[in-house]
Symmetry: C2
Subunit: 243 residues, 2 copies
DNA sequence: CGTGTTTTTGACTTCAGTCAATTAAAGTGG
DNA sequence: CCACTTTAATTGACTGAAGTCAAAAACACG
């Protein structure tokens, strides 16, 4: 369907033939409940999926039972591109909310790339940006203090969710629980709770129910050492870029 | 030259024509001293490089001056593939030792991918494995204790350097200082020193000068929660796989 | 040899984790 | 609409892993 074509065409010029090829790919729609797995570590999946609705996390387990969330993905993201090139999944992909995905055959997609190099470029770009985000998360976990880690994550979510609102009003439905924030930032839930409270007390965010309002993005970004470059959002498409 | 072709052909079947196209790519050789930069964050590079000799690290700086090393790469690795698809570098690439690189024009490589989809697949695979390693590092930094983080890093290096030696003798020249280990694992140099000493006292490793001998890879891997799956080394090519 | 790294050690601090209990919210079913 | 259960958020008291500061020792190298 067109969802994939519009995603891939966002940063790469695709010809009409490229787009036609994408839209004519065989695709199966699946709906999954919160908590169900799209891929499990160790699987040998033969499909790649586009997330159409909802949120998924990618995670790895440590031997002591600890979990590291290595990515969060949202509607429009390709959530398991690695299946295209390596046989065995090195991490799990799990629905954070009820989700809807379009699944494509790995082989069909590979075949399409042969005929349509521009599509290959677009998919390669997706992977490279994913990789860039992973590096930033590593830096977040390795080199920042707890409250800054959380501030950084919130800024990233605000950017990626692309919440509407004027320059000084960013608010969005937070898809993660504090425990999931903890697993994304290398912290414990208790400490996340205290750190979020700190951000709240500092008046950088406001919370109600599941929604979060970033009171002052500039200051929060500064506090969280967030600069959007690593997201590789083209400048023209995003006037809010902080540099 | 053939170095690139043999690297890309390692996991992907390349035709004679593919290989010919790769070997005829225009390429310039560069030698850089220890400490010099191949790419700096913020650059807009127009080349991609194959590391032929030596080690490089990729790193990001936090605003408080902290440095996170997000990858280490060794002879045979493509060290800045992201230049192929995004305009601005989101991290720096720096020589850890004196290095020799082959630099290819980004545009020439992109053009080659159009004619030779198999080469594109091979490059995509490189990126995907790089991404997998980044996720594992994130897990290492986020979810393991200091001595385990270091043990994990040492196991990865032993695997990737592919040091010769029988099943119970892995030794290699350690290319990183303790400070660099610290920046790779999200620790401080002092704490790295103490943790390495612990590994030594536990008889998991032996040190002399810059070389490290892993006394018991199995136990060290166990201690460091290291399983090689994330490196995506095909099983036939690596009998040592720990699972 | 002398100079600059790199490694090592000690003493002390602090950020983040642990344990445990309470409160608040979100469902569920009668 | 209200008990009842479950999940998520919060708080307090205490512990512990890792950071900081500072100095000494060991190397590496011209």
């Amino acid at each position: 369907m067109e969802a994939l074509a519009s995603r891939l065409g966002a940063h790469t010029d695709l010809s009409a033939a490229d787009i036609a090829a994408i839209t004519s790919l065989a695709m199966s729609e699946r709906r999954l409940e919160r908590g169900s797995y799209v891929v499990r570590e160790g699987d040998r999946p033969s499909q790649c999926s586009l997330l159409v609705e909802g949120y998924v996390i990618r995670q790895k387990l440590a031997s002591d039972g600890g979990r590291q969330i290595v990515a969060i993905q949202m509607a429009g993201d390709l959530i398991d591109l690695q299946n295209l090139m390596v046989a065995t999944a090195d991490h799990s992909v799990q629905a954070l909310t009820p989700i809807r995905i379009f699944a494509f055959s790995r082989d069909a997609l590979l075949a399409l790339l042969v005929e349509h190099p521009a599509v290959g470029r677009a998919i390669m770009r997706e992977t490279i940006v994913e990789c860039s985000i992973a590096r930033e998360w590593m830096t977040n976990v390795g080199r920042r203090q707890a409250p800054a880690r959380i501030a950084h994550l919130l800024c990233e979510l605000a950017y990626r969710i692309g919440c509407e609102g004027s320059v000084d009003d960013y608010s969005f439905e937070m898809p993660m629980t504090q425990e999931q924030i903890a697993d994304s930032t290398g912290l414990t839930p208790v400490h996340v709770n205290r750190s979020i409270k700190l951000l709240d007390d500092m008046n950088l965010i406001e919370r109600s129910r599941r929604s979060i309002r970033i009171v002052d993005l500039r200051t929060l970004a500064d506090f969280g050492d967030f600069r959007s470059r690593y997201l590789h959002i083209p400048r023209e498409r995003d006037a809010r870029e902080l540099d």
